[in-house]
């Protein structure tokens, strides 16, 4: 205990000492006030488990094609990576992933 220091000053000092981690947490909450209360929990895990999921419904696609056969099919913006529900995906949105035919550059 520090001698000759008023109690009130001691308490003030204690309150100001925040761990760097908690300071970072405060920063995050300030930027994203709607962040969920279950950190590192099911939301993050479920996102991890769904990696690789792409959506393409051939039924929707063919129906849309039939309905608007004279008009242009709505196409996805080129940057869009996730294709779901309302948007009509086209085969171009889900490019055929071909294996790399080029040899690894590590093999020199």
């Amino acid at each position: 205990r520090l001698a000759n220091v008023p109690q009130s000053l001691l308490i003030e000092v204690e309150d100001k000492v925040i761990s760097p981690e908690k300071a970072e947490e405060a920063k995050l909450k300030a930027r994203y006030p709607n962040l969920g209360h279950k950190p590192g929990g099911s939301d993050l895990l479920r996102k991890r488990l769904q990696k690789g999921q792409k959506y393409f419904d051939s039924g929707d696609y063919n129906m849309a094609k039939a309905k608007i056969k004279n008009k242009q099919l709505p196409t996805a913006a080129p940057e869009k990576t996730e294709i779901t529900g309302d948007h009509i995906p086209t085969p171009q949105d889900l490019p055929q992933r071909k294996p790399s035919l080029v040899a690894s550059k590590l093999a020199g």
């Binding site: 760097p20 981690e21 970072e24 895990l45 690789g52 790399s100 590590l106």
Partner: protein, 447 residues
Amino acid sequence: MAGAGGGNDVQWCFSQVKGAIDDDVAEADIISTVEFNHSGELLATGDKGGRVVIFQQEPESKNQPQCRGEYNVYSTFQSHEPEFDYLKSLEIEEKINKIRWLPQKNAAQFLLSTNDKTIKLWKISERDKRPEGYNLKEEDGRYRDPNTVTTLRVPVFRPMDLMVEASPRRVFANAHTYHINSISVNSDCETYLSADDLRINLWHLEITDRSFNIVDIKPANMEELTEVITAAEFHPNQCNTFVYSSSKGTIRLCDMRASALCDQHSKMFEEPEDPNNRSFFSEIISSISDVKFSHSGRYMMTRDYLSVKIWDLNMETRPVETYQVHEYLRSKLCSLYENDCIFDKFECCWNGNDSVVMTGSYNNFFRMFDRGYRQDVTLEASRENSKPRSVLKPRKVCTGGKRKKDEISVDSLDFNKKILHTAWHPLDNIIAVATTNNLYIFQDKLN
């Protein structure tokens, strides 16, 4: 004999670097796994493009007995290809998540390589002679008219240029709903385990149409999911024992003799957390990205976002040693969460005699911790330090206050330059360090 590791006398030198120099990195070239075989003679890498490249160490030359052989390309092949699961609308990446070598039993070498869904057993064999002198076939393969054959000869084997062939011997598919993060060969050399986010399966190397589920942590209601499996490994000499780590920072040790389904652990290793220090980031940074048994089997090492911990298998309550990899990142967690770096999965490895451990960091830095001498060092894998046999200079990150010359400040670190994969030769002081698309080989300075 395995070297003294990071003690006072060890200096690390550049030996070789593999891969393209250009900064424009194609996704397929991103290295995703590095592994020495059991003798250290072979070094395998896997990449995001599903390709495996194997390097072989040249034998020590008689002219320079003090110089260790270089690693040169031995074999390269396409292990996995991209697939699309139409039933589940799931794109299956060809990225090689892990490679594990089988102990050598005959002239051929075998390794297991896995992507998110399928494990393959590859046989790598050498061919250095071919049969010649057939009676009914010409040398180029065309068939001879039997009517033109007037004499007979016995075909003989003649030497040819060495050819290394890789062929897939087994394909272990359709056993994982979630993404495979680990494979581990049992010390019995007959079985191996594969682990995904929620389940661990046991396979026999000869049998591909059947697999035993030995751990299942999938909750009945997926809304209640709180934890996933992040890594798993068999004990190096107890064939009944394996461990698996979780996203909550726990490690469970299981004994397959106890029951067929090892949902009940035999031991659970967890360091108690101070509830006062808990923050939004606590659970994320406690997630274990790698677990490795020591060669002795007495200890295991875990890697979480900021530290490396050594556990004594006899003590579940806390690790016996903790090493800070890059503690200065604790005050950067907010930005590391925003740019997803907080989810980076760093691996770790032991040296041959378990005296030193190594792991990667950012800015192409990697760290070594000498357990005996209680010393640590930060080194950098960079083309600037790539003169043959040049000694690597220790690097230092400045955490605050005045930055000394040669130090680098935390804000100058390049978080796109991550070293996630490192490997240590099982018997010698030779290490393989993977940057994004380059493989560096370093050796300790001899003499």
